[in-house]
Structures are given as structure tokens and as C-alpha cells.
């Protein structure tokens, strides 16, 4: 079994899900509470990775991250090398790919909050920031957990985007799903099986832990 690949995948999923949460919280707040009429456009943009084939997403990510891409150029100016086929590049592409899995549970839980609680908070003198940390976040906690777990699990299992953007560099971008694919290609079925089974068990344990902690959280899609 390829322990390196497994550790790499876990590291990637952890970094991606935590950084995504930091981005997704303000984004979801805005999506839930803004009254801007063109909001649906951003809604669609956030949901895009759900319907696009990972290869399409990965293709554009590769171009953007490459030495001639917008992000890639900027990165190269800063650090002297391209983002494509590196771990940071993989993190960025994965964040894009898992964005809806972090944003949508948060939007759902924000929208289901009783607006009168936020009104009450404002009436009692709280700024929007204070209301966010004292009222919204504690009450939307199940949504935060869901967002974390879903983006973690989704990143752990991704394949197409990783292959497009990261290539297959051992120890750098060879994640566990790529490793399984490589082993099957090499007809190493027992090796593939070991890793696949471990991934299956990890996923199941993580999900059931969350389910057990809070049975209400599993509302991925917005109730509208």
C-alpha cells in the first residue's frame, strides 16, 4: 500500500477543506442575505463545478495555473516557478472543484435561520459582525460541519482534476485515487484493493461520525 499517497491525500483534503471554509463563510453569508437581484449569477457560478466534467474544470485550471495563465504568471513572478504540477497548484484547483460542497451547506443553514433573531440582535445594538459570531455561526454550526466534511471527502476522492493539474508525481501530486488507478493499470489488483478498501473505510468512518453527531445536517441542497 502506498502510505505516501494516502498521507498526501489527507494533507490535501485537510488544507483544502479548511481554506475553503474561510472563503465560503463570507461568500455564503453574502449569498444568503444579499438582496442584489443578480445574485443568481453568482449562485450559478458557485454551482458550476457540480455539473462540469472534472476534466473540463481541470483543463481550464491547468491553463490558468500554467506559466502563461493569469494565476500562474503571478505565482511565477512571486516564487519563480509555475503552479502546474505542484502541490500548491493542486490545492488551488481542488478548492475550485470542491467550492459548491463548502458553500451550499452554509447557504442552506444561513437561510434557514429565523431572520427575526438577526433583527433582534441588531435591535439590541449588535453590529453585523457581532451578530455573525454570536448568533449566525453558533446556530448554523451543523452547516459548518457539513461544509467541512463534504469538502474534505470530496477532495479526498477527486481524480480528474488532480490528474489534469497535478499530473502523477510521486510524493508531490500522486494522491491516493491516482495511486489506485496506477496500480490497476499495472495489474496490481491486490495493491489497488488494499488502498481502495482503506479509502472506503476512512470515508465511511468520517461520514458516520458526522451523521452520528448531528442527524439533521445532511441537507446539501437548498430547500427552496
Amino acid at each position: 500500500m502506498n502510505v505516501d499517497a494516502l498521507l498526501l491525500s489527507l494533507r490535501l483534503a485537510t488544507i483544502v477543506s479548511v481554506s475553503l471554509l474561510i472563503i465560503a463563510l463570507p461568500l455564503a453569508y453574502w449569498l444568503a442575505f444579499s438582496s442584489w437581484p443578480g445574485k443568481f449569477l453568482l449562485d450559478s457560478l458557485v454551482a458550476l463545478p457540480l455539473v462540469l466534467p472534472p476534466t473540463v474544470l481541470g483543463f481550464y485550471a491547468l491553463i490558468a495555473l500554467g506559466p502563461r495563465g493569469v494565476v500562474g504568471k503571478f505565482w511565477q513572478a512571486l516564487f519563480g516557478h509555475s503552479l502546474a504540477f505542484t502541490f500548491p497548484g493542486l490545492v488551488l484547483a481542488s478548492m475550485l472543484y470542491s467550492l459548491p460542497f463548502a458553500v451550499q451547506p452554509l447557504v442552506t443553514s444561513f437561510e434557514s435561520l429565523d431572520r427575526r433573531l438577526l433583527d433582534a440582535s441588531a435591535i439590541l445594538g449588535a453590529s453585523p459582525t457581532r451578530s455573525f459570531f454570536r448568533i449566525i455561526l453558533p446556530l448554523a454550526w451543523p452547516g459548518v460541519i457539513t461544509a467541512l466534511v463534504l469538502s474534505f471527502a470530496h477532495t479526498l476522492g477527486e481524480f480528474g482534476v488532480v490528474l489534469m493539474v497535478g499530473g502523477d508525481l510521486a510524493g508531490v501530486t500522486r494522491t491516493v485515487s491516482i495511486d489506485i488507478y496506477d496500480r490497476v493499470q499495472a495489474l496490481d489488483y491486490s495493491g489497488a484493493h488494499e488502498t481502495a478498501l482503506l479509502l472506503l473505510v476512512i470515508s465511511f468512518v468520517v461520514l458516520s461520525a458526522v451523521y452520528g453527531m448531528n442527524r439533521r445536517v445532511w441537507s446539501l441542497w437548498r430547500a427552496r
Binding site: R116, D119, I123, L124, G125, A126, S127
Partner: protein, 366 residues
Amino acid sequence: MLSVAIEKKLQTPRTPSFQLEITEVFPPGFTVLFGPSGAGKSTVLDCIAGLLKPDQGRIALGEQVFFDHTTVVNLPAQRRGVGYVFQSLALFPHLSVEENIAYGMGGIAPEQRAIRIERITAGFHIGGLKSRKPPELSGGEKQRVALARSVITEPRVLLLDEPLTGLESGLRQAIQKDLREWNEEKRIPIIYVTHHQDEVNAIGERVVMMANGRVQKSGTPQEVLASPPTVALAQAIGFENLLAARVLEERDSDGVIRVLLEGDENCQLEVPLSSAKPGDTIHVAIRAGDILIASQLPNGLSARNVFRGTIEAMEEQGTLVRVKINAGAPFIAHVTPSAARSLQLTVGSVVWLVIKTHSCHTVTPR
């Protein structure tokens, strides 16, 4: 002194084109904002609190402008210093009673805070509940906590949106007494929204009556409740009898008009003089409590309206019996259970209804 002069258009699925227009001054003390649901009462409160932005006009508390359309002032809700108890109360479910009450006391030193929480929880009789969470409280306890949470911030205006709905009347009166005592020293404007007439009488120093987004009438409870200007309002205020009638003749010298109730050729009423002319169709509003029931034809009465009728239904509602009588036109009368017993009223009994002229209020439909 809170002055409100605003317009606000609202679109909801229920009311596709609702227009609120109100110009009213709220002096210190209780003002009851009263009217049927959908009249715009909560919209007024939301505008005062800064939760809704009016389209036009101005809201000011003394010298301080909350909102002014022409000078583009719109103070955010958190800086208006308004206390607001919602109909839903909106207690924070994840915070204890004490944390809920302390929520709005950010700028106050901790030791001072504890003293004030102690005093207010004792005053509102919730001292023993401080560590509980809102889901563990009864309805009345929740309402007291919500009131305490609002008044502890020393608001300069207090808005109460049906805060005591659903409580039994004893408890309601006790909380109203607490509120009244609290305001005796503060003397701030308190706007109390309700659509219950008994609350109007119990609380109001002043009543502002609203319907369809407009103020219909304001004044003392007696003045406002005495004669309702529209049909919708008469129903809201609790005139159980609202009967369509045609004006037969004016008797200026007696100060009365005779009307014929719709549905029966013989059912004539004498009602006070109004602007209605013979031939007009009007409504006559009579409170069920203003109709006397006699088991025999009474004589030697000053009352001018006496009808013979048959009891069609009786329903006991707490401390009163609601009697439905067919006297050509349908009437509802309220009697006490003991009166119902001593008159041996049952369904099918023949009775006489006695109604004073001045218990009949004419409502001219618009």
C-alpha cells in the same frame, strides 16, 4: 416624543399592492396601535426600529432623526436605541436566559451589568430561570424574558408587537402591570400593537386605530372604540353584530333615524342620527354584551328596540354564554351562565331582545 410621518409600499403575496401612510406623534406613555391583521401595524414598528426603510417621510425621536428621506438619513437599527419585542419574541435559543438578557448590554461594566440583571429579573419575576435556555421555558416565561431583554438596555422607545398574545388573561394582566410600573419612572413612548379589544381597554392611555395602511382614528380608548368608522374596523373591534340595514326615515327632532334590517320586513331599529339619508344602505354594529335578553315581553322600558326571537344556538365560552337568536335578523347576545340558568334559556326558547338606541352604532360603508 416620537414623530412618525412615512409612506411605504410593500409587496407580499397576500397583499400585492399595500401602501402604508401614517402621520402620528407618539408621546411618552402607552399608545396602543390597534387594528385588524394586515392593517400595517408591524410595518410601522419595523420602520421605527430601522428594520424596514420607508419610501418617503421622516422619523424622529425628539431632536434625533432616525430617518429622513429628503436629507438621506437612515440610522441603522443597532444605533437607534429602540427596544422591540417581536410577536415571535425571537429569544436566542442557544443562549441562556441570563445571556439573552445581557446580550444588549455590551457597553456596560460587568459588575454594573450583574446588578442590573439581578434587578430586572427580580422585577419581571424570572430570577430563578437565569441558567435555563429558551426552549425550556413556558410561554409566559418566554414573554417575560423577551420584555426584560428589551427594557434592560434602557431604550428610548419601546415597541411591543402583540407581546402577550396567547396568554391567559390573569397572567397577561400581571405582565401588563409590571410593564406599567416599569414605565412610571421612565416615561418613554411605548407602542403596543394588538388586535384584542380587551388589551386596548386594559393598557391604552391613547389608541391609534389602523386599517388598510392608514390611521382611521386616534384618541382615548373610549373615543376610539365608541363608534367605528368602517365595516372592517367594526369587525376587528369586536362588534359581534354587524347588520346591513336600509334607512327609512330621519327624525331630527328626536335625534334618531329608523332603519330596516335586511332580511326581514318587520325588523326595524331606532339608531342615533348619522349622516345617512333615507334610502341609504348602512351597517348597524351592536356589541353582543349590549343586548339584553328577557324571557317575557318587557314593559315600561326606556329602550326603544324590542324584538321577539327564537334561540337558535347556545355556546358556553368561559365566563359567558354566546346566544344566537333569530329575530327576523340574526343576533348574537352574551349573557352570564347564571343568567342563562335563571331565565332557563335553551335552544328553541322564545325570548325578547332589548337594545338601547345608543348601543347601535351606524357604520357607513365607503
